[in-house]
């Protein structure tokens, strides 16, 4: 051990140049694993229904949406049964909204840890972004069951599904880095999360198809709408899994642009404020 060159860490007031230090992250991958494992293990502790909650919640949402928006409001669903249409939106959106609400308070909730020890702070928002995937994949089983029930088969575009899931994670992480680092200094974020969630919810094409926007407001607005990355993700889910429309590459592309911008700016802001976390917490 003593023969290998000893790494030297310099602690100073200057900001570090690297936005994300991948070498350091790979060193701490085990910690990330145990953080995620902790979140998953603890989540449904001391509940009766346990992991079943990951099935029950989205199913109830689907039932409510089908009755209110599908039957009463008769919102069009691109020609497929409303329950499965809405569920294909609920699935990625729930991941997005749950990971956002837990990531936004992740730093505030971990002050006890990061004021006592050093590890890459980025692991703290990264943990809920990854652990919420468990609920996502469990709820995915319902979608598969519904596809069998309604006799709907995926198209070849399903090969793009992992990419859509990645886009969904990237967006959560991008916004999450912004919100979590803002929240540690300005606790207003905690109170704003309520309406931010509902705003994101109603503006995402969960209960209505994105084509509705194109029909009512024209293609330009539709493209602009695509800047909200979840629009492309949700419509992409519907196209690849349910074969409603051809893959909407135009809005997915728009979503990719804004998602990457959010991620890079989020990572930059996080890095910039990181060194004051312990002081302001």
């Amino acid at each position: 051990m003593k023969n290998t060159p000893i790494p030297k860490f310099v602690i100073e007031s200057k900001k570090s140049r690297k936005i994300i230090d991948f070498k350091e992250l790979s060193y701490y991958k085990d910690l990330l694993y145990f953080f995620v494992l902790r979140d998953i293990t603890v989540l449904y502790k001391q509940t009766i229904l346990g992991i079943l909650w990951a099935l029950i919640n989205p199913m109830f949402q689907m039932v409510v949406f089908t009755v209110i928006f599908g039957k009463l409001a008769a919102i069009p669903s691109d020609g497929i049964p409303y329950p499965i249409f809405s569920f294909a939106g609920i699935l990625p959106f729930n991941y997005f909204s749950q990971s956002l609400s837990s990531v936004s308070l992740s730093l505030v909730g971990s002050t006890g840890i990061f004021t006592k020890i050093y590890f890459p702070r980025i692991l703290i928002p990264l943990t809920p972004v990854l652990s919420k995937l468990v609920d996502f994949f469990i709820a995915f089983l319902i979608l598969i069951a519904m596809m069998i029930y309604f006799n709907i088969y995926p198209t070849w575009d399903i090969v793009f599904l992992p990419m859509l899931i990645f886009l969904m994670i990237l967006t959560s992480m991008g916004i999450g880095m912004w919100l979590s680092s803002l929240a540690i200094q300005y606790r207003d974020v905690k109170f704003a999360m309520g309406f931010i969630s509902s705003l994101l919810m109603y503006s995402a094409p969960v209960v209505f198809p994105a084509s509705l926007i194109a029909d009512k407001a024209g293609y330009d607005v539709y493209l602009l709408y695509g800047l909200y990355p979840m629009v492309g993700v949700i419509e992409g889910f519907r196209s690849s899994l349910l074969g409603v429309n051809p893959m909407p590459w135009d809005i997915i592309g728009m979503g990719c642009i804004s998602s990457v911008l959010l991620f890079i700016s989020g990572a930059y802001y996080f890095k910039r404020t990181e060194r004051i976390f312990a002081d302001v917490a």
Binding site: I6, S13, Y28, F34, R38, V42, K116, I117, D279
Partner: protein, 428 residues
Amino acid sequence: MSEYAVRVNDVSKAFLIGLKETRKETLGAELISWFRSPRKNYNTLKRLNTFDHIEESEDLFWALRNISFDLKQGETLGIIGDNGAGKSTILKIISRITNPTIGYAEVYGRSASLLEVGTGFNSELTGRENVYLNGTILGMTKKEIDSKFDTIVDFSGVEKFIDTQVKKYSSGMRIRLAFAVAANIETEVMIIDEVLSIGDADFRKKSLEKMIEISRGGTAILLATHNFLPIQAMCKNTIHLDHGRIVNYGNTNDVVSKYLGDMSKDMTRQSWSIDDAPSSDSIKITKAEVVPVTNLPVIRAGDPFEFRFEFYNMLNTDYDINIMFHLIDDYDNLIFIGSTVLTNLKFRATKGYIQTSCRIPENLLNHGKFTISKLYVLQGFEKVLYEHTNLLVFEITGDVEYEKGKSGKIDGIMKPKLSWEVNSKKEI
């Protein structure tokens, strides 16, 4: 290869402490200030950033000032100082938790920080799961923990409960398990704050032995503590910090005895002006004194006397406040805990001064040197609002009876007046 483990070069750290809030006189003015306050709040919160605003301002507080020292590989260095002297801040800088405002520190090799034991312990998880979680937080890899797992569990002595949720552990078991994880890290540098003074006496001894073993193994250790035993046992050199500056740095025994020398001078009265009184978020202490209630200038064994404390409550609150102190003798024995909790005295804390006095009855304490080692201001029975270490040091001299020429000094911590009954039967 560098011969150093840690180099600290002219490090200073500034904090901005909140300025006094002002309250408006009229409802109208108050309402207007609500709408103005977001802007003010924003500016205050923005100034929490300790790096962009280091121009001198009246609420700028230097927690550390021009600190420089080196720690060579394999050596152990102690840091002592009163509460608020900056011990934890310098350790946090070297641990990379916070950055210095000015200056820099270099750490050579992997370092592990034990600023508390059991960081990140989750009570819903089992002992085993927590060993892995805590171990990786401390910088170990899963593989390293795998290979050390049995040693860790052995050292902790909680084998039987390792697959039980930690919330069912006693606090002692929790501490033992957490310390066992920390004590089995292999690093070049270890940064330790106070953690050697937790647990019961047996465990303290065991953990101190373990630390000495680690230090013999070539790990450089930086150790901050109130407790001189581990420092004297482990460190060749020690730093004495006071108000963020190094006031003494050198051979441990010299530094400690000078520090104790300063300390063991009687300190029967301390008072501060409201602006520089030691304070927590809500409470400032402005005065503490021990006074005889006889008309003599000294307190003699068996005499009644009084402790008087004066606090300033910065907040307008409506909870009950309790005061509690620990009285120890010269050998660190806890003589008793004085607490308003034990009485039915209840008082609400409103904003402003709080004066308390506590009368020690006659015929209680014998001669000797006593220290109020801890003073707490509590909200209700448990929540600590303010804590002060080593507040008053005083001596109880001669003997009441001795003065009267009846008897000499007698041994013992207490000098109670017992009621005796003696009967004699005359044998016929």
